[in-house]
């Protein structure tokens, strides 16, 4: 393998297989040239990769050379990463969120009264997802925590403010809601 091109083929394979930087000395040893010739060769090669239609390039680090992807392609490579699965809200989360959204600030007791089931874990999940947060404490006995929606809630639902919540018609709301006990 005497011609320049053949040497370049060898260098590409060696740098690829290594993954890590390969020293100038090592490259020189492998292709059977002296340091000086190898350095010139590497400079040429770096230039070629930079200007060729390649997704990868050669980076010089101290006296070593390493293959890496071109920075401008980063956005595509990011897509390789495991993306946490797009998750919808569970019906329980929707329900709880809607009660909080339309009645905030609101206590857990109120939510549970309306839903008829324990809502502890679903409230925790909504807090973890930053859709609701604690908002002080109620004045009622026991000083229960209050919950309200967050900016993230607005962002996720595409509201600019809470006024954007789809309006409820008056006859939708049963008068009974006023009477929900807070025990």
């Amino acid at each position: 393998m005497g011609s320049i091109t053949d040497t370049e083929i060898i260098i590409e394979a060696v740098l690829f297989a290594s993954g890590d930087p390969v020293s100038l000395d090592k490259i020189a040893e492998i292709i059977g040239h002296d340091r000086k010739t190898t350095r010139v060769l590497m400079s040429n090669l770096i230039y070629k990769y930079q200007n060729a239609s390649r997704g990868i390039m050669i980076r010089q680090i101290d006296d070593g050379y390493q293959l890496c992807t071109k920075p401008e392609l980063d956005e595509y490579i990011q897509k390789l990463g495991t993306v946490r699965k797009r998750q919808g809200l569970t019906p329980a989360a929707y329900e709880t969120l809607s009660i909080i959204a339309y009645n905030q600030p609101v206590t857990r007791a109120y939510i549970e009264q309306v839903r008829g089931v324990n809502s502890d874990s679903v409230i925790q999940k909504l807090i973890e997802r930053n859709l609701i947060r604690e908002a002080g404490r109620d004045d009622s006995p026991g000083k229960p925590k209050l919950y309200e929606t967050t900016e993230e809630f607005l962002r996720v639902f595409g509201f600019s403010s809470l006024k954007d919540l789809p309006p409820l018609e008056m006859n939708d709301i049963p008068e009974v809601m006023e009477n929900v006990p807070l025990d």
């Binding site: 490579i77 959204a101 309306v114 509201f159 919540l165 789809p166 049963p174």
Partner: protein
């Protein structure tokens, strides 16, 4: 005293994969036509090998001994004079052995191909993966303001129903007492008999029936699936559960069909 054969083959002995492998070695060594194996010669040589192995205190796998007896059996059949000419052509006692040998040979040869390919492809080298950080799709929660609203109205309605309709509530409480799994299974089997696919939420709806009833209904579905009268499918989390009647019925427990007292 060790025979010449013993000495010659000491190194090779342990390397035979099995009786077929040893037989092949002998066939190739003697340049024999596989379709016309001289059983006497081959059997003698095969037994020589086993003897050699014994002399060397090598453990002889039982498969080698089974083959030895097979060979001896074929040999005896070949040596026996045919008493009376049979009308049909008598089956060659070697036939079964030949078929097995040919089958084995095919894969033996293919082993070589695999080995050569491995040799070639062990010369390509891969690169370790780059560390690509996990990206989070936190802002991709699928939401809809409309669903938010309808959820709220739904939960309000449920609450109102619960609070206002005391009589309904009492009836539900009374119904609770009546819910039995067996009754639910019968009810479900009755529906399935019509041969149509059932939507679970249509039959057992929390708005029309008590939680206990719906829960028992769900258990009934599981039972009915278990005894093979139906299959279930659900295409999405929290989605509709479809119950489809099934032909592959197993034995049904008569207790299930028995009337409640």
């Amino acid at each position: 005293m060790k025979s010449a054969l013993t000495n010659a083959c000491t190194l090779k002995l342990e390397n035979f994969e099995g009786p077929f492998d040893l037989l092949f070695y002998l066939i190739e060594k003697n340049q024999i036509d596989i379709y016309d194996i001289p059983v006497v010669v081959i059997t003698d040589q095969y037994l020589d090998y086993l003897n050699a192995m014994q002399e060397l205190d090598l453990e002889i796998a039982s498969e080698f001994l089974v083959m030895a007896s097979t060979l001896l059996h074929i040999k005896s059949r070949m040596l026996l004079p045919e008493r009376e000419p049979v009308e049909e052509e008598a089956a060659d006692p070697r036939e079964e052995l030949i078929i097995k040998l040919l089958e084995y040979k095919k894969y033996k040869e293919y082993s070589k191909v695999l080995s050569e390919r491995e040799e070639k492809w062990s010369k390509v080298h891969y690169k370790l993966p780059e560390a690509i950080p996990e990206t989070f799709a936190e802002n991709e929660i699928e939401v809809s303001p409309v669903i938010l609203r309808s959820c709220f109205l739904e939960v309000l309605k449920r609450y109102r129903d619960k609070m206002t309709d005391v009589s309904k509530k009492m009836k539900r409480i009374l119904d609770h007492e009546k819910v039995s799994l067996r009754a639910k299974i019968r009810e479900l089997l009755g529906l399935l008999k019509k041969g149509i696919k059932i939507c679970f939420s249509k039959v057992y709806n929390t708005r029309k029936k008590s939680r206990l009833e719906v829960a028992t209904g769900f258990l009934a579905v599981l039972e009915v699936v278990k005894i093979g009268y139906a299959t279930v499918e659900q295409h999405a989390d929290f989605g509709e559960i479809y119950v489809t009647p099934c032909d592959k019925k197993k034995n049904i427990d008569p207790m299930i069909l028995a009337e409640d007292d």
